[in-house]
């Protein structure tokens, strides 16, 4: 029953997004959309996915869109340039999909083919073969480890792509000017800075908890990486990019991103060296189950580092670009004065 309520709420939000003109409201609604779908996932017993969707879908994507909006303006032009063509295409694909759902197994029916062919082995044997309760993590990290490896590379590609597009070479004399502005803003952000100073350690601690708790409950590399980076992003927003860059400079963070992917790959190479196939953790140590534990722990660690580093890189690039834009505006105002 709960999922029907959630789904209808989602539809309402989707319609609202279509109608809205103010981009700020649209982004906020997307955030809510992400959060609602996360709660829908909880209703559908997909706890890991809910956690990731909440962290990534609701958190980071809204954040990035907000940063982008500060640079590109909030108003959307009214004219819709080709509504009927769009409606036409949408109706056709929608009709085809509806046509497709007619023979689908009913929602939640236990005898659907997907529950009878590949999945039962994961549920029944994963305890003996891999020995960790959270089946999703065991499938994620061991049975289909290469998928996760591919996906870490996807996030690495996105990070490098954003860097390649928005990279702004640092110039020394600018840093002093920005630092002076930050200090003057200290009183302005007094309350929020003190609160964040108290909160950030706990966020980082929570990220580490999620990182290592992946085997037993919902959690794992992605969620930990995102939470870790959200702590750093919070710090950057309040104390300014240049101070954040002093804490984590660009070179180091790129190194960490590359290190994460390499670390992940090396686990696979190690299993190659020991004679097993790529990502075969049984050969990592004498007892196969212990090998699986070790393997999963290591690659979760690799994923966590990469995702954290990449999210920070992406945010630093956006913030760096924004600062560049602000400077050009300030210089323009100064000349026009």
């Amino acid at each position: 029953m709960i999922n029907i309520v959630l789904l209808s709420l989602l539809v309402v939000i989707a319609i609202a997004i279509i109608r809205m003109k103010d981009l700020f409201a649209v982004v906020m609604l997307t955030g809510i959309y992400g959060l609602l779908s996360a709660s829908f996932f909880v209703a559908m017993d997909a706890v890991d996915v809910a956690f990731t969707e909440a962290a990534v879908g609701a958190g980071i994507s809204t954040l990035l869109m907000l940063v982008a909006i500060t640079m590109t303006g909030r108003k959307e032009k009214v004219t819709r340039h080709k509504p009927f063509a769009a409606l036409f295409i949408v109706l056709i694909t929608g009709g085809l999909l509806i046509y497709g759902t007619l023979d689908m197994p009913l929602f939640g029916s236990a005898d659907a083919p997907i529950h009878s062919h590949v999945a039962p082995r994961y549920l029944n044997d994963s305890m003996q073969e891999i020995g960790i309760p959270n089946v999703v993590t065991s499938v994620l990290a061991s049975y289909r480890a290469f998928d996760t490896f591919g996906e870490v590379v996807v996030i690495f590609t996105a990070g490098i792509g954003v860097l390649a597009l928005l990279f702004v070479p640092r110039r020394k004399e600018e840093d002093e000017k920005i630092a002076s502005i930050n200090d003057s803003m200290h009183e302005h952000h007094l309350v929020i800075r003190i609160i964040t100073k108290m909160l950030i350690p706990f966020i980082l601690l929570f990220a580490l908890y999620v990182q290592f708790h992946g085997d037993y409950g919902p959690g794992g590399g992605f969620q930990a990486g995102v939470i870790f980076s959200s702590a750093i992003v919070l710090y950057t927003m309040l104390f300014g990019l240049s101070t954040a860059r002093k804490v984590i400079n660009q070179g180091f963070i790129q190194l960490m991103a590359a290190f994460g992917v390499l670390f992940y790959g090396c686990v696979g190479i190690a299993s190659l060296m020991n004679g097993g196939n790529f990502f075969d953790y049984n050969v990592l140590s004498d007892d196969p189950v212990a090998g699986q534990h070790l393997g999963i722990l290591l690659i979760e660690w690799g994923v966590g580092v990469t995702v954290a580093a990449i999210m920070i890189i992406i945010f630093f690039s956006f913030a760096g670009r924004r600062e560049l834009q602000q400077h050009s505006e300030n210089n323009k105002n100064r000349e026009s004065l």
Partner: protein, 126 residues
């Protein structure tokens, strides 16, 4: 029958609204929002496929016997990250477009491009 397939039809409505936004709206940020909605609704479709009535989350524990299917959850974990990667890249492109074209409306960008091409043609015909 209705209850069984209602879930899928709502998901399809969500997908189509996402697709509609991408195609109909000229604003580039709106397009990216549309893409995110379209992808998230596909995730919902996958996860609603994996649910088993009465089953619990796929975390093995003694007293529970019936679990939902873990495989779609793994696929969607990957797909979410793919979604955020595409959005991040799309947003950086939008920022670059704003800097070079000064606008993020599709028609204005198209108009500027056409003007530039016509200028090129005129100068060539001279």
């Amino acid at each position: 029958m209705l209850m069984g397939l209602f879930n899928n039809w709502v998901v399809i409505v969500l997908m189509m609204s996402g697709l509609y936004i991408v195609i109909a709206h000229g604003n580039l940020i709106k397009k990216l929002v549309g893409l995110t909605i379209f992808q998230t609704s596909v995730f919902i479709f996958y996860i609603s496929m994996a649910k088993v009535n009465g089953g619990s989350a796929p975390i093995l524990s003694e007293n529970i016997s019936l679990y939902s299917n873990p495989l779609p959850h793994v696929l969607i974990l990957t797909a979410i990250v793919v979604g955020i990667a595409t959005t991040a890249l799309g947003l950086s492109l939008v920022v670059r477009l704003k800097e070079s074209y000064g606008t993020i409306e599709e028609e204005e960008i198209q108009r500027q491009d056409n003007q530039q091409n016509q200028a090129l043609n005129k100068e060539r015909d001279k």
